[in-house]
Symmetry: C2
Subunit: 213 residues, 2 copies
DNA sequence: GTCTATACTTGGATAGAC
DNA sequence: GTCTATCCAAGTATAGAC
C-alpha cells in the first residue's frame, strides 16, 4: 500500500502504456476485420495511434499479431485456468464451457484465435508459432480428460489426446461458423445441449473399477 | 457418338477453357496461400495466365473466390452426395466421413472452405455469401440425422439441427487445426475413433419405438 | 518514444492495343 | 478473349526530426 504501485517506469504495462494499447488495437482489428484485414494501418486507425509505432515496438505486424495472441492466451488462462482445474465432473465442465463461450464471444477471443489459425496458411512460419501457442490449451484439456476418465471403466476406450483435439477443433469451428452469419443462437443451443446431457455422460463415468490393482 | 462432343463454343467449360482454369488456380492459391494470400496477382501466377483475365471473366477477386467455392461445392456434392444419401447406418456414415476427409485432404476442399469462412470476417458481404453456400451442406447432414434417429427412442433427445451444426463445425475445425502444423495424424486418429465407436451409437438407435402410434 | 515524411512493394481494377 | 501498360490505393518498413 502506498504510492509504490505507481512507481512504474512506463516502459512496462500500465493503463496508458503504449505497447498494451497497440496490442489491444490489434486484437480489436483481428476480431472485426479478420487476419486479412489486420494491416498496420488498419490497426493504427483502430487504436488512434501512429502506424510507425507498431514497427518501433514490435518490429513487424506479424510479431504484433503474435503478441496479441499471447495476450489473449494469458488473459484466458488467468480467467478460466483456475476454475477449469477445479472442475471435477463432466457436468461442471459442460457448464463451464458454456459460460466461457459466452465470455469469449463478448471479447472475441476465439475469433482472434480462429483468424490466426486461418492466417497460418498464408504464412507458414506464423502457422508454426500459432500452433505452439495452441498446444498448452490442448494439453490442459487432455490432462483434465485423463483425470476424469481415470479409474472409470471407459478409461481404456477413450484416448484423451484425440478427444481433446476434437474438443478444441469443435470450439474453434463453432465460433468461426457463428461469426460467419452473426448467428450465435445455434452455438448457444448446442452448448445448452451439452449441459443437458453432460450428467448422462457423467453417469457412465461413475462406473469405476475397483481401486488398487 | 462422333465429333459432336467437340462442338463446344470455348465459352463453356472444357479442358482448356479459361474460366475453369482461373477457378482452379484460385482454388490452388486459397489452399496454399490462404484467403489473405489469394490476391489476383498471386492467383494469376499460380495459373500462369494474365492477371487482367480475372477481372474480365469474374469482375473482381471476390467474385472469383466465390465461384471457386461454388465449384468446390458442386464437385463435392457430385462425388459424395449420392453415397451419403444412400448410407443408412451410423457405421456407414462414420466410415464415409473418414473416407471423405482423406479425399478432402488431398484436394484441399475443406481448407478452401475454412479460409473462405475466416475471410468472411474480413468482408461481411463475402461472409454472407459463404454462409448461404454452406447451408445446403448443413441441411443435408440434418436431414440424414433426422432419418437415422427417426423412430428411435432417442429421437426426442437429439435435436438434428444442433448436431448437424456441431458436425460441420467439428469437420471444419479439424481441418484448420491439422492444416496449422501439417499434422493430419491426429485428425485421422480421431476419425478412426469415430469409425470404431459408431457401431455402439448405432446400437443405441436400434432401440425403436413401436411403429405406428 | 512519438511523429512526419518517404521509399518501395503489392494489390485491385481499367483502358486500349492486338 | 487476351495482353500490355498504367492508375491509384494500400501495404510494410525505415529515416530522421522532434
Amino acid at each position: 500500500m502506498g504510492p509504490i504501485e505507481q512507481q512504474r517506469t512506463d516502459t512496462d504495462e500500465g493503463p496508458g502504456a503504449t505497447k498494451p494499447r497497440i496490442v489491444d488495437a490489434a486484437l480489436e482489428t483481428l476480431r472485426s476485420h479478420g487476419f486479412a484485414g489486420a494491416s498496420a494501418r488498419q490497426i493504427a486507425r483502430a487504436g488512434a495511434f501512429n502506424q510507425a509505432l507498431i514497427f518501433y515496438h514490435f518490429g513487424s505486424v506479424r510479431n504484433l499479431l503474435l503478441a496479441a495472441l499471447d495476450t489473449v492466451s494469458a488473459r484466458r488462462m488467468a480467467a478460466y485456468g483456475p476454475v477449469f482445474e477445479r472442475a471435477q465432473t463432466i457436468s461442471e465442465l459442460a457448464f463451464l464451457a458454456r459460460e466461457i463461450y459466452a465470455e469469449d464471444l463478448q471479447n472475441g477471443y476465439v475469433t482472434v484465435l480462429g483468424e490466426m489459425v486461418a492466417g497460418g496458411v498464408s504464412d507458414p512460419e506464423l502457422g508454426r508459432e500459432v500452433a505452439s501457442r495452441l498446444q498448452p490449451w490442448m494439453e490442459m484439456v487432455e490432462r483434465k480428460l485423463g483425470v476424469l476418465v481415470s479409474g472409470s471403466l471407459l478409461e481404456p476406450l477413450i484416448p484423451a489426446r484425440d478427444v481433446a483435439f476434437a474438443i478444441v477443433a469443435l470450439y474453434l469451428g463453432i465460433d468461426l461458423l457463428s461469426q460467419l452469419d452473426g448467428d450465435h443462437a445455434r452455438a448457444e443451443s448446442l452448448l445448452d445441449l451439452g449441459v443437458r446431457y453432460a450428467p448422462l455422460a457423467g453417469t457412465l463415468l461413475v462406473a469405476r473399477q475397483a481401486p488398487g490393482r
